[in-house]
Amino acid sequence: MPEYSLNVNGKIRKVNVEEDTPLLWVLRDTLGLTGTKYSCGEGICGSCTVHINGKAERSCVLTIKDVAGDKITTIEGLAENPDHPIFKTWIDLEVSQCGYCQPGQIMTLAALMNENPNITKKEVKENMNTVLCRCATYARIDKAIDKLVEEGK
């Protein structure tokens, strides 16, 4: 099996996996970073969202070959700063229910707000519309977005 060198959460990790292995399963099974979740496997739901060079991407439809050499951040990387305003807002508003999709929600939002500090609520919500939550915590995600976008200004 080929060896790949990955830059995950600021650390270089060497992994030996087949070249068609989705990044999601490398993170989860090989590196033990299980905060990135499997749900649809087809890039539909967003539970597996990570940052590739700062952009929100769905790790279930990226192969290891696609990301070798890229800067990868997972929810564990973002959580190295537990005081990140998104985490604080998520806890304050008690957004999470089962919690399974929340890392994907948070990673998507963090990338959007980081990429464009002047992003509008509407733009954020249009982008977040494809991150699914079966508990339908959407009412509170909506409130959290409003609060964070307002505070970001």
Partner: protein
């Protein structure tokens, strides 16, 4: 004082005034085990205190996102007089010693409100008694406060940890005094969830995340037609895939074992299986629908008769309508998963189960083991909604482990869950109503036509009257002089199971939509029509009135917008919802839902609100979008692109009010579902004049 034997311990509680806790009060660790370090005082299976003063509350229900790992500990902490910050929470394994552990039927709080408070109060009283002995004073001179017993006469304090030894030697009091709700410090407060931070930091381990040392990964290929089986299979391609280590046949299909999830998925896809598609290979949704339809002109078997519904009502305004709903998948975001280690006649499982006792006995049965030789550990569930009540995924995992001799984590793909899961039954509903010349209802008839979950899963021979078909339509609060609720059970090969709110997802849709039709036939306002039918002391009437007020029921809306109302009793709670919708070019947008609940005493109001918001969104998925179709004996849909669920921008604004009272604790998680579909569909009628009698909504 002598240490109590287990038998005496049970007797004390049987004799006590609150003697319903027998099952729950067999001591878990023994009482106090000399030599253990730290020493543990455990007067209940739900609670232990060590000699460092650490209070651990054992939660016996499953955390599915409803907040049970917070709300159950709140009950103990309240009575124990311990500061919330000093509480630890532990998840119980599946075992009968905990009493019923099924996390369904919105019963976790309803059924635990008293036992968990009694557990806390019992420990408190015993710690007080222990302090009194140490100080040589009367117990009346001592009280509990913030993890200490305080001596009233001199203000001296002993911490709970310091009292563990002494308290462990004491007999369990026969009666304990519970706090007056007026004195509650924790119950009724907005307490933050204990599990949220780890979950959002990506640290919490859900079932699918867990790793056991030495574990392999497994995936299963199952027959595309439900009820079929494998005639033969060729695994040569599978075995050539890097990482695949074994292929085994199990009762439901062919399992591939690999050293990663991805290899197991690839190996499963590479299997070439010759399926015997079985007896259902030609069944499709249209055939199933025709089977249901064939009962429409029959009366069905009586479920409930009030007055004389078979009399002649021809002098009244008579209306009839047929409602129908499809099969639905639960589709929790975490697909089915289970770790199993089967070795030397014993099985150990780790599963995000809603029903660990059921899983334990089902796995024991499937493997031919004693139940005592099966251990089920409960892990966080990434959503459940009823899907994780059944055991088939755990049986598969156990069979794979047994056949391969390996510890395996079975992961279902999303497609596996969509196609091979269990489903909310499809149903048809024939409604009949009559209103007199003054616009008063004189007849209500509802014939429910569906597969019965309890019949398919357990009791095919039970009469319709005793089946579950009547849930959510019998015992209506409305005073209508003549009522006939009847049912026809129509068996289907599609496996059906409990869904969030079960038959309340379909029966109140038919009932409350049709009551709207009756109101219009009577030329009455649908809110006033309902209100007039409800007795003055009715809790349902109170929430209905409050919802109408809060929503501004009589305020004018612009063209294209409409408001609909519905109410229901569900799991000992009462709910009324008013939906506001916009219908433009046959597209429905739900703008706002006003929701009023009476669920008796409230433990954590924030969790109640969260559950109601979630229930509204969950129900809106099946009102607007979701549907399972049967083709060639199997499920046609395979992923979220075909089985669509609600998205962020489709979520309405939600306004919630919780009635304040001290009635018995009612259910919440499912109650929010019951009135939503009819409220939205009645609003669509108000906005567009189009009556929705079939879900999901399709306007043309």
């Amino acid at each position: 004082m002598k240490k109590q034997s287990r038998r005496e311990f049970i007797k004390v509680f049987t004799m006590s005034g609150t003697g319903l806790f027998l099952a729950a009060y067999t001591p878990m660790n023994g009482f106090f085990k000399p030599g253990d370090d730290p020493k543990i005082f455990s007067p209940s299976v739900y609670l232990k205190i060590d000699n460092n003063g650490i209070v651990t509350i054992i939660v016996h229900r499953s955390e599915l996102g409803q907040g049970v790992r917070t709300s159950l500990p709140m009950l103990v902490a309240e009575e124990l007089e311990v500061e919330w910050e000093n509480i630890r929470v532990e998840q119980a394994d599946g075992h009968p010693k905990y009493g019923n552990q099924t996390t369904g039927g919105s019963q976790s709080i309803r059924k635990s409100y008293e036992p968990f408070r009694v557990a806390g109060a019992t420990a408190r009283e015993m710690l007080i008694a222990a302090a009194a002995i140490k100080w040589g004073v009367d117990v009346k001179k001592c009280y509990a406060e913030k993890g200490y017993i305080v001596n009233k006469s001199n203000g001296k304090k002993l911490s709970y940890g310091e009292l563990v030894d002494e308290a462990s030697k004491l007999p369990v009091p026969e009666n304990v005094l519970l706090k007056d709700p007026e004195d509650f410090q924790i119950i009724g407060k907005r307490i933050h969830r204990t599990d949220t931070p780890d979950k959002i930091y990506g640290k919490a381990k859900f079932g699918i995340d867990l790793v056991i040392p030495g574990m392999y990964y497994a995936a299963v290929q199952r027959c595309p037609a439900i009820g079929g089986s494998a005639k033969s299979f060729n695994d040569s391609k599978t075995k050539s895939i890097n990482g695949v280590v074994d292929v085994v046949k199990i009762s439901r299909g062919i399992a591939v074992i690999a050293n990663s999830t991805w290899s197991s998925f690839k190996g499963k896809d590479a299997l070439v299986v010759d399926w015997d598609l079985g007896p259902n290979a030609n069944v499709n949704s249209e055939i199933i629908r025709k089977n249901l339809e064939s009962k429409l002109n029959e009366e069905g078997s009586d479920i409930e008769i009030i007055g004389k519904p078979n009399s002649d009502f021809s002098n009244n305004i008579n209306i009839e309508a047929v409602y129908e709903v499809p099969f639905l998948a639960h589709a929790p975001m975490e697909p089915m998963t289970c770790i199993a280690e089967v070795k030397n006649g014993k099985a150990e499982l780790w599963a995000p189960s809603q029903n660990p006792q059921g899983l334990r006995s089902d796995v024991a049965k499937a493997l031919g083991f004693n139940e005592d030789d099966v251990i089920v550990h409960v892990v966080f569930a990434g959503g459940a909604f009823g899907r994780k009540l059944v055991s088939e995924y755990g049986i598969e995992a156990a069979e794979i482990s047994k056949a391969s001799g390996k510890i395996i984590k079975l992961t279902w793909t999303r497609e596996d869950d969509m196609k091979h899961g269990v489903f909310r039954p499809a149903s048809m509903h024939k409604l009949k109503g009559a209103v007199d010349g003054n616009g008063n209802p004189v007849l209500f008839g509802h014939h429910v036509i569906a597969e019965s979950i309890s019949a398919q899963r357990f009791y095919r021979a039970l009469p319709v009257k005793d089946s579950d078909l009547g849930e959510g339509t019998k015992k209506l609060s409305y005073k209508i002089p003549n009522i006939k609720i009847s049912g026809s059970i129509v068996p289907t090969h599609v496996p059906v199971s409990w869904y969030r709110s079960v038959y309340h997802t379909q029966n109140p849709f038919a009932v409350e939509s049709f009551l709207d039709e009756m109101a219009f036939a009577a030329n009455k306002d649908p809110y006033e029509f309902r209100k007039k039918m409800l007795p003055d002391n009715s809790r349902l009437k109170a929430v209905l009135i409050k919802a109408a007020e809060k929503s501004g029921w009589y305020n004018k809306l612009e063209a294209g917008k409409g408001r609909g109302i519905a109410c229901a009793e569900c799991y000992e709670s009462y709910i009324a919802q008013v939906a506001e919708v916009t219908v433009i070019n046959n597209k429905v947008k739900v703008d706002k839902v006003t929701c009023v609940i009476d669920c008796g005493i409230v433990i954590n109001p924030d969790s109640v609100e969260a559950q109601l918001e979630g229930a509204i969104g969950f129900a809106l998925s099946y009102v607007l979008k979701s549907k399972i179709t049967i083709e060639n004996g199997g499920v046609a849909e395979s992923n979220f692109d075909e089985y669509e669920i609600l998205t962020l921008n489709e979520m309405p604004k939600v306004e919630i009010e919780i009635m304040k009272n001290t009635y018995k604790v009612g259910g919440v998680g499912e109650t929010g579902i019951a009135a939503l579909a009819p409220a939205v569909c009645n609003a669509i009628f108000a906005a567009s004049g189009k009556r929705i009698r079939r879900l999901p909504v399709e306007l043309s």
